[in-house]
Amino acid sequence: MSYTDFLRQYGDRFWDGTLITAQQFLLASLLAIAIALLAGLMKLSRNRLIRGIAVVYIEIFRGTSLLVQLYWIFFVLPLFGLTLAKFTAGFVAVGMNLGAYGAELVRGGIQSVPKGQWEAAYALSMSPARRMWRIILPQAFVNMLPPWGNLLIELLKNTALVALISVSDLMFEAKQINGTTFLSAQTFGTALIIYYVLARFIVTPFMRWLERVMRRKLGRA
């Protein structure tokens, strides 16, 4: 079978898989950003208990493998009465894992905002919440965008693991097609190229664009 025939026959399934991968990526990204923000702020808290919770969360999720976390969430959580559908379990595991890495970026980003900014906000008698939301976070956000670009690429790659709990993403479809055709080079090669295109020509340019827009908004262009 020529490669064009192969694509004609299996193109639809690659496309379906890519759509599921895209959904997993978007949902996991949103979750990761929310968790990173929360855990990152908690780690900067003055309250020991709050800081402790964030540290434990971050260390557990950064200290073990995503695959272990994924299996734990999918196979063990139901024993505690919390059963997640495989699709949900997939993006929740990926989001929680990358959120722990993101929390360190948030913490670093906030700490990189010059001290004068904090003092100025204090002098203007802003409330702590308002100071964080209006003054500190926007500047921290711009500072941490470049590493977030890398993190989102990692996240995209990690969504491939959800195939192991049978979420029918791109990786899963590739495995299935390989199982029936045994055309491994074509199948896995095509999937590799699709992931590459998603990372290099969609996620990366989007992050670059966001960096430019945000810098302009803060008058740093």
Binding site: S65, V76, A160
Partner: protein, 223 residues
């Protein structure tokens, strides 16, 4: 079945899991050794005067870094037989994980190499050192300390990625836990223990790497 922790079962499976931990460590060690060497090759290949070589290696590194490791593992394992080259799970796994991390390490090395002051290169030229001596005796020794932090992170990273090798049947921790789970229908203990074993190894390793990094920097008189 159930959420009650079974200690008798725990003691029964723990030796098996600890034995599999050795395989996990071995996989991480081999994979890292490959990555350390190949990463340097990738980094140096991007510094040759041959424009095309630099460009090609750059793209290869980008490609490896932007695609999932799990897919690369499948690719290496299954594509060989299609062309008559049968690789065992260990060989295929080590090639895939070694190649994947060599792309990451080449970036770390590249940063290190670029941080070597220009005067060092000029001094080597002035002393008429060969390219080989310049790299081996002057540049690389100075490029390594700033790269140590990144190198250490990827050592822990490769260790945490070894569970992916279970998909092609490398008998490491995750593979063993899966086997225990599917034969006993108990998932709580094996998966939780795997998590604890990973934490027990990766957290102290990360701390040790920090200490080692500080030690090397002090030894070399760097701050």
């Amino acid at each position: 079945m159930g959420f009650n922790w079974n200690w008798a079962f725990t003691w029964e499976i723990l030796p098996k899991l600890l034995h599999a931990t050795l395989n996990t460590l071995m996989a991480a060690g081999f994979g890292y050794a490959i990555a350390l060497v190949l990463g340097m090759v990738f980094a140096l290949a991007q510094r040759t005067p041959y424009w095309a070589l630099t460009k090609v290696v750059r793209e290869v590194v980008e490609f490896i870094r932007s695609t999932p490791l799990i897919l690369q593992i499948f690719f290496v394992y299954y594509v060989g037989p299609q062309f008559g080259l049968k690789l065992g799970p260990w060989t295929a796994g080590m090639i895939a994980i070694g190649l994947h991390y060599s792309a990451y390490l080449s970036e770390v090395y590249r940063g290190g190499l670029e941080s070597v002051a220009k005067g060092q290169w000029e001094a080597c030229t002035a002393l008429n050192l060969s390219t080989r001596d310049t790299y081996l005796r002057i540049v690389i020794p100075q490029a390594i300390p700033p790269a140590l932090a990144g190198m250490g992170n990827y050592l822990v990273g490769i260790f945490k990625d070894t569970p992916m090798l279970s998909v092609i049947g490398v008998a490491e921790l995750m593979h063993t836990a899966n086997a225990i789970g599917s034969s006993s229908y108990r998932y709580l203990e094996p998966y939780t223990l795997v998590g604890i074993i990973f934490l027990a190894i990766s957290l102290p390793t990360a701390a040790l790497i920090r200490v080692f990094e500080g030690y090397v920097r002090r030894k070399l008189g760097l701050k």
